[in-house]
Protein backbone atom coordinates (compact mmCIF):
# COMPACT_ATOMS: atom_id res chain seq x y z
CA UNK A 1 0.00 0.00 0.00
CA UNK A 2 1.44 3.32 -1.08
CA UNK A 3 -0.94 5.91 0.25
CA UNK A 4 -3.85 6.48 2.54
CA UNK A 5 -6.35 9.18 1.59
CA UNK A 6 -8.75 10.61 4.16
CA UNK A 7 -11.45 12.18 2.08
CA UNK A 8 -13.45 14.63 4.20
CA UNK A 9 -13.98 12.20 7.02
CA UNK A 10 -15.73 13.11 10.28
CA UNK A 11 -16.69 10.95 13.24
CA UNK A 12 -20.47 10.55 13.35
CA UNK A 13 -20.55 11.93 16.91
CA UNK A 14 -19.26 15.26 15.55
CA UNK A 15 -21.83 15.42 12.74
CA UNK A 16 -23.84 18.61 12.83
CA UNK A 17 -21.35 20.46 14.99
CA UNK A 18 -20.39 23.88 13.70
CA UNK A 19 -17.11 24.24 15.55
CA UNK A 20 -15.22 21.54 13.66
CA UNK A 21 -11.89 22.84 12.54
CA UNK A 22 -8.39 21.37 12.21
CA UNK A 23 -6.35 19.69 9.52
CA UNK A 24 -8.06 16.31 9.27
CA UNK A 25 -11.82 16.40 9.89
CA UNK A 26 -13.67 17.52 6.78
CA UNK A 27 -10.34 17.89 4.94
CA UNK A 28 -8.66 15.89 2.25
CA UNK A 29 -5.50 14.38 3.70
CA UNK A 30 -2.97 12.18 1.90
CA UNK A 31 -0.56 10.02 3.93
CA UNK A 32 2.24 8.58 1.79
CA UNK A 33 4.40 5.61 2.51
CA UNK A 34 7.94 6.46 3.60
CA UNK A 35 6.96 9.70 5.36
CA UNK A 36 6.52 10.52 9.04
CA UNK A 37 3.36 12.26 10.25
CA UNK A 38 2.36 13.68 13.58
CA UNK A 39 -1.25 14.14 14.60
CA UNK A 40 -1.50 16.52 17.53
CA UNK A 41 -4.71 16.75 19.37
CA UNK A 42 -6.35 17.73 22.57
CA UNK A 43 -8.10 15.01 24.52
CA UNK A 44 -11.54 14.09 23.16
CA UNK A 45 -10.98 15.40 19.65
CA UNK A 46 -11.23 11.97 18.02
CA UNK A 47 -7.62 10.89 17.79
CA UNK A 48 -8.22 7.30 18.87
CA UNK A 49 -11.36 7.23 16.74
CA UNK A 50 -9.15 8.05 13.76
CA UNK A 51 -6.98 5.02 14.59
CA UNK A 52 -10.13 2.90 14.81
CA UNK A 53 -11.30 4.09 11.41
CA UNK A 54 -7.93 3.38 9.84
CA UNK A 55 -7.70 -0.13 11.36
CA UNK A 56 -11.22 -0.95 10.28
CA UNK A 57 -12.68 -1.69 13.71
CA UNK A 58 -14.76 1.43 13.75
CA UNK A 59 -17.01 2.49 10.92
CA UNK A 60 -18.91 5.36 12.54
CA UNK A 61 -17.61 8.12 10.32
CA UNK A 62 -18.75 10.17 7.36
CA UNK A 63 -16.62 10.61 4.23
CA UNK A 64 -14.28 8.00 2.83
CA UNK A 65 -10.96 6.45 3.64
CA UNK A 66 -9.10 5.17 0.57
CA UNK A 67 -6.23 2.73 0.62
CA UNK A 68 -4.47 3.03 -2.74
CA UNK A 69 -7.69 4.45 -4.12
CA UNK A 70 -10.02 1.79 -2.72
CA UNK A 71 -12.70 2.70 -0.22
CA UNK A 72 -12.06 0.68 2.94
CA UNK A 73 -15.80 0.27 3.46
CA UNK A 74 -15.73 -2.23 0.60
CA UNK A 75 -13.13 -4.44 2.32
CA UNK A 76 -14.20 -7.96 3.14
CA UNK A 77 -13.31 -9.62 6.44
CA UNK A 78 -10.37 -11.51 4.96
CA UNK A 79 -9.03 -8.32 3.38
CA UNK A 80 -9.07 -6.57 6.74
CA UNK A 81 -7.32 -9.57 8.30
CA UNK A 82 -4.63 -9.37 5.64
CA UNK A 83 -4.40 -5.58 6.08
CA UNK A 84 -3.87 -5.90 9.85
CA UNK A 85 -1.43 -8.74 9.44
CA UNK A 86 0.76 -7.41 6.65
CA UNK A 87 0.12 -3.74 5.86
CA UNK A 88 -0.96 -1.77 8.90
CA UNK A 89 0.37 -1.93 12.41
CA UNK A 90 -1.02 -0.02 15.34
CA UNK A 91 0.29 0.57 18.81
CA UNK A 92 -2.99 1.12 20.63
CA UNK A 93 -3.30 3.86 23.17
CA UNK A 94 -4.90 1.34 25.53
CA UNK A 95 -2.22 -1.18 24.42
CA UNK A 96 -4.59 -4.16 24.19
CA UNK A 97 -2.07 -6.59 25.64
CA UNK A 98 -3.11 -9.84 27.29
CA UNK A 99 -2.43 -9.49 31.02
CA UNK A 100 -2.42 -13.25 31.70
CA UNK A 101 0.41 -13.85 29.23
CA UNK A 102 4.05 -12.96 29.80
CA UNK A 103 5.68 -10.07 27.95
CA UNK A 104 7.40 -12.49 25.58
CA UNK A 105 4.20 -14.43 24.99
CA UNK A 106 2.37 -11.21 24.14
CA UNK A 107 4.88 -10.61 21.39
CA UNK A 108 4.98 -14.23 20.32
CA UNK A 109 1.25 -14.48 19.89
CA UNK A 110 1.62 -11.95 17.10
CA UNK A 111 4.91 -13.24 15.74
CA UNK A 112 3.46 -16.75 15.48
CA UNK A 113 0.96 -15.28 13.10
CA UNK A 114 3.42 -13.38 10.92
CA UNK A 115 6.69 -15.27 11.51
CA UNK A 116 8.29 -11.92 10.90
CA UNK A 117 11.08 -11.83 13.48
CA UNK A 118 13.38 -14.36 15.07
CA UNK A 119 13.20 -14.94 18.79
CA UNK A 120 16.77 -13.62 18.96
CA UNK A 121 15.75 -10.31 17.39
CA UNK A 122 12.81 -9.98 19.79
CA UNK A 123 15.15 -10.58 22.74
CA UNK A 124 17.44 -7.86 21.46
CA UNK A 125 14.54 -5.43 21.39
CA UNK A 126 13.52 -6.37 24.91
CA UNK A 127 17.10 -5.76 25.90
CA UNK A 128 17.28 -2.41 24.10
CA UNK A 129 14.10 -1.26 25.80
CA UNK A 130 15.36 -2.24 29.24
CA UNK A 131 12.96 -5.17 29.61
CA UNK A 132 15.45 -8.06 29.45
CA UNK A 133 14.51 -9.18 32.95
CA UNK A 134 10.78 -8.77 32.31
CA UNK A 135 10.43 -11.08 29.34
CA UNK A 136 8.89 -13.85 31.42
CA UNK A 137 6.92 -11.62 33.72
CA UNK A 138 3.18 -11.47 33.30
CA UNK A 139 2.13 -8.27 31.60
CA UNK A 140 -0.60 -7.76 34.19
CA UNK A 141 2.11 -7.27 36.78
CA UNK A 142 4.04 -4.67 34.79
CA UNK A 143 3.81 -0.88 34.89
CA UNK A 144 2.02 0.96 32.10
CA UNK A 145 5.32 2.33 30.82
CA UNK A 146 6.77 -1.20 30.61
CA UNK A 147 3.63 -2.42 28.93
CA UNK A 148 3.90 0.40 26.40
CA UNK A 149 7.31 -0.89 25.37
CA UNK A 150 6.04 -4.47 25.10
CA UNK A 151 3.19 -3.21 22.93
CA UNK A 152 5.68 -1.41 20.68
CA UNK A 153 7.70 -4.60 20.21
CA UNK A 154 4.48 -6.42 19.36
CA UNK A 155 3.61 -3.73 16.81
CA UNK A 156 6.97 -4.23 15.13
CA UNK A 157 6.84 -8.02 14.62
CA UNK A 158 4.89 -7.82 11.41
CA UNK A 159 5.34 -6.46 7.93
CA UNK A 160 3.66 -3.06 7.48
CA UNK A 161 3.34 -0.21 5.01
CA UNK A 162 2.19 2.17 7.72
CA UNK A 163 2.90 2.08 11.41
CA UNK A 164 0.53 4.01 13.63
CA UNK A 165 1.34 4.73 17.23
CA UNK A 166 -1.34 6.22 19.45
CA UNK A 167 0.44 8.20 22.15
CA UNK A 168 3.38 5.80 22.25
CA UNK A 169 5.51 7.63 24.81
CA UNK A 170 2.85 8.96 27.15
CA UNK A 171 4.26 6.98 30.08
CA UNK A 172 7.93 6.76 29.15
CA UNK A 173 10.92 8.68 30.40
CA UNK A 174 13.15 10.35 27.87
CA UNK A 175 15.73 7.60 27.72
CA UNK A 176 13.17 4.86 27.13
CA UNK A 177 11.26 7.06 24.68
CA UNK A 178 14.45 7.56 22.66
CA UNK A 179 15.23 3.86 22.76
CA UNK A 180 11.74 3.08 21.55
CA UNK A 181 12.03 5.65 18.78
CA UNK A 182 15.35 4.20 17.64
CA UNK A 183 14.18 0.63 17.27
CA UNK A 184 10.90 1.80 15.77
CA UNK A 185 12.55 3.99 13.15
CA UNK A 186 15.12 1.32 12.36
CA UNK A 187 12.30 -1.11 11.53
CA UNK A 188 10.28 1.57 9.69
CA UNK A 189 13.24 2.42 7.50
CA UNK A 190 14.01 -1.20 6.89
CA UNK A 191 10.47 -1.73 5.68
CA UNK A 192 10.27 1.66 3.90
CA UNK A 193 7.00 2.30 5.75
CA UNK A 194 5.10 5.45 6.65
CA UNK A 195 4.56 6.47 10.27
CA UNK A 196 1.62 8.17 11.92
CA UNK A 197 2.23 9.25 15.52
CA UNK A 198 -0.47 10.83 17.65
CA UNK A 199 0.17 12.91 20.68
CA UNK A 200 -1.78 14.98 23.16
CA UNK A 201 1.26 16.62 24.68
CA UNK A 202 4.48 14.78 25.03
CA UNK A 203 5.61 13.78 21.58
CA UNK A 204 8.17 11.36 20.31
CA UNK A 205 11.32 13.17 19.37
CA UNK A 206 11.34 12.69 15.61
CA UNK A 207 11.88 14.60 12.44
CA UNK A 208 8.27 14.86 11.22
CA UNK A 209 7.53 15.46 7.54
CA UNK A 210 4.09 16.87 8.32
CA UNK A 211 2.10 17.71 11.41
CA UNK A 212 -1.69 17.78 11.58
CA UNK A 213 -3.73 19.38 14.27
CA UNK A 214 -7.05 17.78 15.08
Amino acid sequence: MKEIVLDRILPCVFAGREDISGDIWHQKVVLERGRVFLVEAASGTGKSSLCGFLMGYRRDYEGSILYDGRDVRTFRTDEWVEMRRSHLSLLFQELRLFPELTAMENVEIKNQLTHHKTKQRIREWFDALGLADKMDARVGQMSFGQQQRVAMIRALVQPFDFLMADEPVSHLDERNADAMRDIMMEEVRRQGAGVVITSIGRRMDLCYDQTFCL
Partner: protein, 396 residues
Protein backbone atom coordinates in the same frame (compact mmCIF):
# COMPACT_ATOMS: atom_id res chain seq x y z
CA UNK B 1 -2.13 -22.48 18.91
CA UNK B 2 -0.63 -23.20 22.33
CA UNK B 3 -0.58 -19.52 23.28
CA UNK B 4 -4.00 -18.97 21.80
CA UNK B 5 -5.39 -21.83 23.86
CA UNK B 6 -3.59 -20.60 26.98
CA UNK B 7 -5.30 -17.28 26.43
CA UNK B 8 -8.75 -18.50 25.51
CA UNK B 9 -9.16 -21.38 27.93
CA UNK B 10 -9.72 -18.86 30.70
CA UNK B 11 -13.28 -19.06 31.96
CA UNK B 12 -13.70 -22.61 30.63
CA UNK B 13 -15.90 -24.03 33.34
CA UNK B 14 -15.14 -27.68 34.16
CA UNK B 15 -18.53 -27.96 35.84
CA UNK B 16 -20.44 -26.82 32.76
CA UNK B 17 -18.32 -28.94 30.48
CA UNK B 18 -18.77 -31.91 32.80
CA UNK B 19 -22.53 -31.36 32.86
CA UNK B 20 -22.63 -31.30 29.09
CA UNK B 21 -20.44 -34.34 28.92
CA UNK B 22 -22.55 -36.45 31.26
CA UNK B 23 -25.85 -35.38 29.72
CA UNK B 24 -24.67 -35.83 26.16
CA UNK B 25 -23.17 -39.22 26.96
CA UNK B 26 -26.46 -40.34 28.43
CA UNK B 27 -28.47 -38.97 25.50
CA UNK B 28 -26.18 -40.44 22.88
CA UNK B 29 -26.11 -43.80 24.64
CA UNK B 30 -29.92 -43.93 24.79
CA UNK B 31 -30.24 -43.01 21.11
CA UNK B 32 -27.70 -45.57 19.98
CA UNK B 33 -28.91 -48.28 22.34
CA UNK B 34 -32.56 -47.97 21.31
CA UNK B 35 -31.57 -47.95 17.65
CA UNK B 36 -29.30 -50.97 18.06
CA UNK B 37 -31.80 -52.87 20.18
CA UNK B 38 -34.55 -52.26 17.63
CA UNK B 39 -32.32 -53.53 14.85
CA UNK B 40 -31.23 -56.56 16.86
CA UNK B 41 -34.70 -57.58 17.99
CA UNK B 42 -36.63 -56.86 14.81
CA UNK B 43 -35.68 -60.14 13.07
CA UNK B 44 -37.39 -62.04 15.89
CA UNK B 45 -40.73 -60.60 14.86
CA UNK B 46 -40.29 -60.91 11.15
CA UNK B 47 -38.92 -64.45 11.01
CA UNK B 48 -39.32 -66.22 7.71
CA UNK B 49 -41.44 -69.32 7.78
CA UNK B 50 -39.22 -71.21 5.43
CA UNK B 51 -42.06 -72.22 3.15
CA UNK B 52 -43.84 -69.04 2.38
CA UNK B 53 -42.36 -65.90 1.04
CA UNK B 54 -41.93 -62.70 2.94
CA UNK B 55 -44.88 -60.58 3.96
CA UNK B 56 -48.11 -62.34 3.24
CA UNK B 57 -51.48 -62.45 4.91
CA UNK B 58 -54.17 -65.07 4.75
CA UNK B 59 -57.62 -63.75 4.28
CA UNK B 60 -61.05 -65.28 4.74
CA UNK B 61 -64.56 -63.96 5.07
CA UNK B 62 -65.96 -63.59 8.54
CA UNK B 63 -68.37 -66.36 9.23
CA UNK B 64 -71.54 -64.71 10.39
CA UNK B 65 -74.60 -66.24 11.91
CA UNK B 66 -76.34 -66.00 8.54
CA UNK B 67 -73.44 -67.77 6.93
CA UNK B 68 -74.63 -70.90 8.58
CA UNK B 69 -77.66 -70.83 6.33
CA UNK B 70 -75.77 -71.00 3.12
CA UNK B 71 -74.50 -67.53 2.38
CA UNK B 72 -71.39 -67.90 0.31
CA UNK B 73 -68.15 -67.49 2.13
CA UNK B 74 -66.08 -67.51 -1.04
CA UNK B 75 -64.45 -64.58 -2.75
CA UNK B 76 -65.89 -63.47 -6.09
CA UNK B 77 -63.64 -62.49 -8.96
CA UNK B 78 -64.78 -58.90 -8.45
CA UNK B 79 -63.76 -58.91 -4.80
CA UNK B 80 -60.37 -60.36 -5.69
CA UNK B 81 -59.90 -57.68 -8.35
CA UNK B 82 -60.78 -54.97 -5.87
CA UNK B 83 -58.28 -56.34 -3.37
CA UNK B 84 -55.65 -56.55 -6.06
CA UNK B 85 -56.09 -52.85 -6.76
CA UNK B 86 -55.36 -51.78 -3.17
CA UNK B 87 -52.06 -49.94 -2.74
CA UNK B 88 -50.90 -52.18 0.13
CA UNK B 89 -51.41 -55.28 -1.98
CA UNK B 90 -48.65 -56.69 -4.13
CA UNK B 91 -50.10 -60.02 -5.20
CA UNK B 92 -53.17 -62.05 -4.48
CA UNK B 93 -53.39 -65.82 -4.74
CA UNK B 94 -56.45 -67.97 -4.14
CA UNK B 95 -56.55 -71.04 -1.97
CA UNK B 96 -58.01 -73.90 -3.95
CA UNK B 97 -59.59 -76.57 -1.85
CA UNK B 98 -60.09 -80.21 -2.74
CA UNK B 99 -63.71 -80.82 -3.74
CA UNK B 100 -63.73 -84.54 -3.07
CA UNK B 101 -63.25 -86.80 -0.10
CA UNK B 102 -59.77 -87.46 1.11
CA UNK B 103 -58.67 -89.90 3.70
CA UNK B 104 -55.20 -90.48 4.80
CA UNK B 105 -53.53 -93.27 6.65
CA UNK B 106 -50.19 -93.17 8.35
CA UNK B 107 -48.00 -96.15 8.18
CA UNK B 108 -44.45 -97.24 8.65
CA UNK B 109 -43.12 -99.72 6.11
CA UNK B 110 -46.50 -100.24 4.59
CA UNK B 111 -48.30 -101.14 7.82
CA UNK B 112 -51.14 -98.75 8.31
CA UNK B 113 -51.32 -97.48 11.85
CA UNK B 114 -54.17 -94.98 11.81
CA UNK B 115 -56.14 -93.02 9.32
CA UNK B 116 -58.28 -89.93 9.14
CA UNK B 117 -60.55 -88.00 6.85
CA UNK B 118 -58.94 -84.81 5.70
CA UNK B 119 -58.78 -82.20 2.97
CA UNK B 120 -56.18 -80.52 0.80
CA UNK B 121 -55.63 -76.97 -0.25
CA UNK B 122 -53.19 -75.32 -2.56
CA UNK B 123 -51.92 -71.84 -3.21
CA UNK B 124 -50.20 -70.66 -6.38
CA UNK B 125 -46.74 -72.19 -6.51
CA UNK B 126 -44.92 -68.87 -6.50
CA UNK B 127 -46.18 -68.17 -2.97
CA UNK B 128 -44.48 -71.31 -1.74
CA UNK B 129 -40.84 -70.94 -0.98
CA UNK B 130 -39.60 -74.47 -1.54
CA UNK B 131 -37.61 -76.01 -4.29
CA UNK B 132 -40.14 -76.35 -7.09
CA UNK B 133 -38.65 -79.66 -8.20
CA UNK B 134 -39.82 -81.09 -4.85
CA UNK B 135 -43.07 -79.17 -4.96
CA UNK B 136 -44.76 -80.75 -7.93
CA UNK B 137 -47.06 -83.62 -8.73
CA UNK B 138 -46.45 -86.02 -11.52
CA UNK B 139 -49.27 -88.31 -12.68
CA UNK B 140 -46.89 -90.97 -13.91
CA UNK B 141 -45.17 -91.22 -10.53
CA UNK B 142 -47.94 -90.23 -8.14
CA UNK B 143 -46.30 -89.01 -4.96
CA UNK B 144 -48.02 -86.03 -3.31
CA UNK B 145 -45.74 -83.60 -1.45
CA UNK B 146 -47.47 -82.11 1.58
CA UNK B 147 -46.76 -79.26 3.95
CA UNK B 148 -48.46 -79.70 7.33
CA UNK B 149 -49.16 -77.14 10.02
CA UNK B 150 -46.65 -77.59 12.78
CA UNK B 151 -49.47 -77.49 15.30
CA UNK B 152 -50.80 -80.79 13.93
CA UNK B 153 -47.61 -82.50 14.94
CA UNK B 154 -47.83 -80.89 18.37
CA UNK B 155 -51.41 -82.07 18.77
CA UNK B 156 -50.34 -85.60 17.86
CA UNK B 157 -47.22 -85.64 20.01
CA UNK B 158 -48.54 -83.99 23.13
CA UNK B 159 -52.19 -84.88 22.93
CA UNK B 160 -52.84 -88.03 21.03
CA UNK B 161 -49.59 -90.00 21.25
CA UNK B 162 -49.19 -89.46 24.94
CA UNK B 163 -52.69 -90.60 25.81
CA UNK B 164 -52.55 -93.59 23.45
CA UNK B 165 -49.01 -94.63 24.44
CA UNK B 166 -47.87 -94.14 20.88
CA UNK B 167 -44.35 -93.03 20.00
CA UNK B 168 -43.71 -89.35 19.62
CA UNK B 169 -42.62 -88.27 16.19
CA UNK B 170 -40.04 -85.71 15.28
CA UNK B 171 -40.35 -83.66 12.12
CA UNK B 172 -37.58 -85.68 10.55
CA UNK B 173 -39.34 -88.98 11.26
CA UNK B 174 -42.64 -87.70 9.87
CA UNK B 175 -40.77 -86.82 6.69
CA UNK B 176 -39.84 -90.46 6.32
CA UNK B 177 -43.33 -91.84 6.87
CA UNK B 178 -45.32 -92.96 3.86
CA UNK B 179 -48.77 -91.51 3.80
CA UNK B 180 -51.43 -93.50 2.13
CA UNK B 181 -53.86 -91.15 0.50
CA UNK B 182 -57.23 -92.24 -0.69
CA UNK B 183 -59.20 -89.98 -3.00
CA UNK B 184 -62.91 -90.55 -3.63
CA UNK B 185 -65.38 -88.70 -5.78
CA UNK B 186 -67.32 -88.78 -9.03
CA UNK B 187 -67.58 -92.51 -8.69
CA UNK B 188 -63.85 -93.02 -8.61
CA UNK B 189 -61.49 -94.09 -5.91
CA UNK B 190 -57.73 -93.98 -6.07
CA UNK B 191 -54.82 -94.54 -3.75
CA UNK B 192 -51.74 -92.41 -3.91
CA UNK B 193 -48.66 -91.99 -1.83
CA UNK B 194 -47.91 -88.82 0.03
CA UNK B 195 -44.84 -87.46 1.76
CA UNK B 196 -44.63 -84.64 4.26
CA UNK B 197 -41.85 -82.41 3.00
CA UNK B 198 -42.10 -79.80 5.71
CA UNK B 199 -44.01 -78.08 8.47
CA UNK B 200 -45.26 -74.57 8.60
CA UNK B 201 -46.05 -72.68 11.77
CA UNK B 202 -48.00 -70.05 9.89
CA UNK B 203 -50.09 -71.90 7.42
CA UNK B 204 -53.21 -73.34 8.91
CA UNK B 205 -53.97 -75.90 6.24
CA UNK B 206 -52.74 -79.02 4.58
CA UNK B 207 -50.93 -77.70 1.58
CA UNK B 208 -50.32 -79.61 -1.63
CA UNK B 209 -48.99 -78.43 -5.01
CA UNK B 210 -51.37 -76.48 -7.20
CA UNK B 211 -51.11 -78.84 -10.15
CA UNK B 212 -52.15 -81.75 -7.92
CA UNK B 213 -55.33 -79.97 -6.79
CA UNK B 214 -56.18 -79.02 -10.35
CA UNK B 215 -55.63 -82.56 -11.55
CA UNK B 216 -57.50 -84.19 -8.68
CA UNK B 217 -60.46 -81.79 -8.74
CA UNK B 218 -60.96 -82.44 -12.45
CA UNK B 219 -60.74 -86.14 -11.85
CA UNK B 220 -62.81 -86.54 -8.70
CA UNK B 221 -65.11 -83.52 -8.75
CA UNK B 222 -65.49 -82.32 -12.31
CA UNK B 223 -67.47 -79.12 -12.78
CA UNK B 224 -67.48 -78.27 -9.11
CA UNK B 225 -67.56 -74.73 -7.84
CA UNK B 226 -64.07 -73.53 -7.18
CA UNK B 227 -64.77 -70.21 -5.54
CA UNK B 228 -61.85 -69.69 -3.17
CA UNK B 229 -62.79 -69.28 0.46
CA UNK B 230 -59.36 -68.03 1.47
CA UNK B 231 -56.87 -65.78 -0.21
CA UNK B 232 -53.18 -65.40 0.28
CA UNK B 233 -52.07 -61.80 -0.09
CA UNK B 234 -48.56 -60.49 -0.34
CA UNK B 235 -48.30 -57.02 1.13
CA UNK B 236 -45.56 -54.43 1.24
CA UNK B 237 -45.89 -53.62 4.91
CA UNK B 238 -48.00 -55.84 7.16
CA UNK B 239 -48.18 -53.06 9.75
CA UNK B 240 -49.96 -50.77 7.31
CA UNK B 241 -53.10 -49.40 8.94
CA UNK B 242 -54.87 -49.39 5.58
CA UNK B 243 -54.92 -53.18 5.67
CA UNK B 244 -56.84 -53.37 8.91
CA UNK B 245 -59.36 -50.75 7.87
CA UNK B 246 -59.88 -52.40 4.47
CA UNK B 247 -60.44 -55.76 6.12
CA UNK B 248 -62.92 -54.33 8.62
CA UNK B 249 -64.78 -52.47 5.91
CA UNK B 250 -65.26 -55.60 3.82
CA UNK B 251 -65.85 -57.99 6.66
CA UNK B 252 -62.71 -60.01 5.98
CA UNK B 253 -60.67 -61.77 8.59
CA UNK B 254 -56.95 -62.20 8.79
CA UNK B 255 -56.14 -65.68 9.75
CA UNK B 256 -52.60 -65.90 10.84
CA UNK B 257 -50.26 -64.19 13.16
CA UNK B 258 -48.47 -62.28 10.46
CA UNK B 259 -50.45 -59.17 11.15
CA UNK B 260 -49.82 -59.62 14.85
CA UNK B 261 -46.14 -59.91 14.12
CA UNK B 262 -46.51 -56.84 11.95
CA UNK B 263 -48.27 -55.03 14.75
CA UNK B 264 -45.70 -56.15 17.29
CA UNK B 265 -42.97 -54.85 15.00
CA UNK B 266 -44.97 -51.68 14.66
CA UNK B 267 -45.24 -51.27 18.42
CA UNK B 268 -41.60 -52.17 18.79
CA UNK B 269 -40.86 -49.43 16.32
CA UNK B 270 -43.01 -46.97 18.25
CA UNK B 271 -41.41 -47.87 21.58
CA UNK B 272 -37.93 -47.72 20.08
CA UNK B 273 -38.95 -44.42 18.49
CA UNK B 274 -40.11 -42.99 21.81
CA UNK B 275 -36.95 -44.10 23.59
CA UNK B 276 -34.87 -42.69 20.77
CA UNK B 277 -36.80 -39.43 20.94
CA UNK B 278 -36.10 -39.23 24.69
CA UNK B 279 -32.43 -39.87 23.97
CA UNK B 280 -32.44 -37.24 21.27
CA UNK B 281 -34.15 -34.79 23.62
CA UNK B 282 -31.50 -35.37 26.28
CA UNK B 283 -28.82 -35.00 23.62
CA UNK B 284 -30.46 -31.84 22.39
CA UNK B 285 -30.63 -30.39 25.90
CA UNK B 286 -27.02 -31.31 26.59
CA UNK B 287 -26.09 -29.75 23.29
CA UNK B 288 -27.95 -26.68 24.44
CA UNK B 289 -25.91 -26.67 27.68
CA UNK B 290 -22.74 -26.90 25.60
CA UNK B 291 -23.87 -24.07 23.35
CA UNK B 292 -24.74 -21.94 26.37
CA UNK B 293 -21.37 -22.52 27.99
CA UNK B 294 -19.59 -21.76 24.74
CA UNK B 295 -21.69 -18.60 24.39
CA UNK B 296 -20.78 -17.64 27.91
CA UNK B 297 -17.14 -18.43 27.32
CA UNK B 298 -17.02 -16.38 24.15
CA UNK B 299 -18.85 -13.57 25.93
CA UNK B 300 -16.48 -13.60 28.89
CA UNK B 301 -13.49 -13.65 26.57
CA UNK B 302 -14.99 -11.14 24.14
CA UNK B 303 -12.39 -8.47 24.86
CA UNK B 304 -9.53 -10.88 24.31
CA UNK B 305 -11.08 -12.18 21.13
CA UNK B 306 -11.53 -8.61 19.93
CA UNK B 307 -7.89 -7.81 20.64
CA UNK B 308 -6.76 -10.92 18.80
CA UNK B 309 -8.82 -9.86 15.81
CA UNK B 310 -7.26 -6.40 15.97
CA UNK B 311 -3.70 -7.70 15.89
CA UNK B 312 -4.38 -9.70 12.75
CA UNK B 313 -5.99 -12.97 13.81
CA UNK B 314 -8.76 -14.07 11.47
CA UNK B 315 -12.20 -14.84 12.93
CA UNK B 316 -11.79 -18.46 11.78
CA UNK B 317 -8.53 -18.83 13.65
CA UNK B 318 -9.88 -17.23 16.79
CA UNK B 319 -12.95 -19.48 16.66
CA UNK B 320 -10.86 -22.61 16.16
CA UNK B 321 -9.88 -23.37 19.79
CA UNK B 322 -13.54 -23.32 20.84
CA UNK B 323 -14.55 -25.34 17.82
CA UNK B 324 -11.85 -27.90 18.58
CA UNK B 325 -12.99 -27.97 22.21
CA UNK B 326 -16.54 -28.84 21.20
CA UNK B 327 -15.38 -31.31 18.55
CA UNK B 328 -13.09 -32.98 21.08
CA UNK B 329 -15.80 -33.16 23.73
CA UNK B 330 -18.35 -34.53 21.26
CA UNK B 331 -15.87 -37.04 19.82
CA UNK B 332 -15.07 -38.29 23.31
CA UNK B 333 -18.79 -38.60 24.01
CA UNK B 334 -19.25 -40.57 20.79
CA UNK B 335 -16.40 -42.95 21.56
CA UNK B 336 -17.59 -43.52 25.11
CA UNK B 337 -21.19 -43.97 23.98
CA UNK B 338 -20.11 -46.55 21.41
CA UNK B 339 -18.02 -48.35 24.01
CA UNK B 340 -20.99 -48.31 26.39
CA UNK B 341 -23.20 -49.59 23.58
CA UNK B 342 -20.84 -52.52 22.95
CA UNK B 343 -20.87 -53.50 26.59
CA UNK B 344 -24.65 -53.22 27.01
CA UNK B 345 -25.28 -54.97 23.71
CA UNK B 346 -23.04 -57.84 24.71
CA UNK B 347 -25.05 -58.13 27.91
CA UNK B 348 -28.52 -58.15 26.32
CA UNK B 349 -27.51 -60.23 23.30
CA UNK B 350 -26.32 -63.01 25.59
CA UNK B 351 -29.72 -63.09 27.23
CA UNK B 352 -31.56 -62.94 23.91
CA UNK B 353 -29.43 -65.75 22.50
CA UNK B 354 -30.27 -67.85 25.51
CA UNK B 355 -33.95 -67.35 24.65
CA UNK B 356 -33.71 -67.34 20.85
CA UNK B 357 -30.65 -69.32 19.78
CA UNK B 358 -31.49 -68.84 16.12
CA UNK B 359 -31.32 -65.05 16.43
CA UNK B 360 -28.87 -63.62 13.89
CA UNK B 361 -25.84 -61.78 15.17
CA UNK B 362 -26.61 -58.32 13.80
CA UNK B 363 -24.07 -55.70 12.99
CA UNK B 364 -22.99 -52.74 15.08
CA UNK B 365 -22.11 -50.67 12.03
CA UNK B 366 -25.49 -49.00 11.50
CA UNK B 367 -25.27 -47.62 15.05
CA UNK B 368 -21.72 -46.45 14.43
CA UNK B 369 -22.94 -44.69 11.30
CA UNK B 370 -25.87 -43.16 13.20
CA UNK B 371 -23.51 -41.99 15.95
CA UNK B 372 -21.16 -40.49 13.40
CA UNK B 373 -24.06 -38.78 11.65
CA UNK B 374 -25.26 -37.24 14.94
CA UNK B 375 -21.69 -36.25 15.73
CA UNK B 376 -21.32 -34.63 12.31
CA UNK B 377 -24.55 -32.65 12.69
CA UNK B 378 -23.68 -31.48 16.21
CA UNK B 379 -20.14 -30.54 15.19
CA UNK B 380 -21.35 -28.65 12.14
CA UNK B 381 -23.88 -26.66 14.15
CA UNK B 382 -21.22 -25.97 16.80
CA UNK B 383 -18.64 -24.81 14.31
CA UNK B 384 -21.11 -22.49 12.62
CA UNK B 385 -22.49 -21.05 15.87
CA UNK B 386 -19.04 -20.36 17.35
CA UNK B 387 -17.90 -18.72 14.12
CA UNK B 388 -20.99 -16.55 14.04
CA UNK B 389 -20.41 -15.44 17.63
CA UNK B 390 -16.85 -14.47 16.76
CA UNK B 391 -18.08 -12.60 13.69
CA UNK B 392 -20.47 -10.72 15.95
CA UNK B 393 -17.45 -9.58 17.97
CA UNK B 394 -15.67 -8.67 14.75
CA UNK B 395 -18.56 -6.48 13.72
CA UNK B 396 -19.05 -4.92 17.14
Amino acid sequence: MRLLWKLLRRHVSPAQLGGFFAANLLGMLIVLLSFQFYRDVRPLFGREDGFLKADYLILSKRISATGLWGETSGFSAQEIDDLQRQPFCRRVGAFTASQYRVSCSLGLQGIASFGTEMFFESVPDDFVDVDLSRWTFNESDPMVPIILPRSYLAIYNFGFAQSQSLPKLSEGVVGMIDLGIQLRGAGREERLKGRVIGFSSRLNTILVPENFIRWSNERFAPGSDNTPSRLIVEVGNPADDAIVSYMDEHGYELEDDKLDAGRTTYFLRIVAGIVMAVGLLISLLSFYILMLSIYLLVQKNAQKLHNLLLIGYSPARVARPYQLLTIGANALVLIMALAGLCILRHYYMERLWAMFPQMPDGSLWPSVVLGLALFAVVVMVNVVVVYRRVMKIWNS
